[in-house]
Symmetry: C2
Subunit: 129 residues, 2 copies
């Protein structure tokens, strides 16, 4: 498993906005902005099972998280990964990630039904800049 270099750990530890690229049934990438949380050796995010990115990653469990330094567009971290899913009983993980982003889970206006945890186990890391 590739390591995240110390030089770019700030990009994944700060509560920034990343993009998740999945691959649709016709082979075209789908890209959305999302929150993420470094959790030991893996990266996790919270998804709703009605969304296309969930359906894509379930059918084709390879996805890439890309984080661009908002202050330097030549600096970025790309994490290519295998996808696995878990339930999120009592929305424990959802609450953790929402708090990591400085919001309150009780009042944060996100859909709560059908949430699962997507775990990204990295297969390759590319640090740029």
């Amino acid at each position: 498993m590739s390591l995240i270099p110390d030089s770019h750990r700030d990009l994944i530890e700060s509560a920034g906005v990343g993009t998740l690229s999945t691959v649709g049934a016709d082979g075209t990438p789908q890209v959305t902005a999302l929150w993420y949380l470094l959790d030991g050796d893996v990266v996790r995010t919270s998804l709703i099972t009605t969304r296309q990115k969930y359906k894509n990653a379930l059918a084709h469990p390879k996805a890439t998280l890309f984080i661009l330094d908002p202050t330097n567009s030549y600096r970025a971290l790309e994490i290519r990964a295998e996808c696995t899913f878990e339930d999120d009983p009592d929305l424990e993980f959802f609450s953790r990630i929402v708090r990591h982003y400085g919001q309150e889970p009780e009042t944060f206006p996100a859909e709560k039904d059908g949430r699962v945890i997507l775990t990204l186990t990295r297969t390759r890391v590319v640090a740029t800049g």
Copy 2:
């Protein structure tokens, strides 16, 4: 062909930094930051043929340009597209895109050998926020 809604044209007309997602041989998305230029009905960018994204898009000609509003991370434009390539004789297109980004082609420190034009002909546009 999906249209780019007027509400999000600023994202593609401003000289911002987007990300290009291609799909590698093992099916994992590859994502890099890049410059782009709206050129009539298509989006174009300049690539070097030694780079992985070129090789990916040649082998699997479906790619997605994603542009996140730098001032509002809930607002984004996703352009899913078919890829075609053309030569860039005399680096005419390269010079255009570099000037669009406020730089001088003669002095801009980018590799010039092996440049081609990637044209993204959109198949689906998703505007968020």
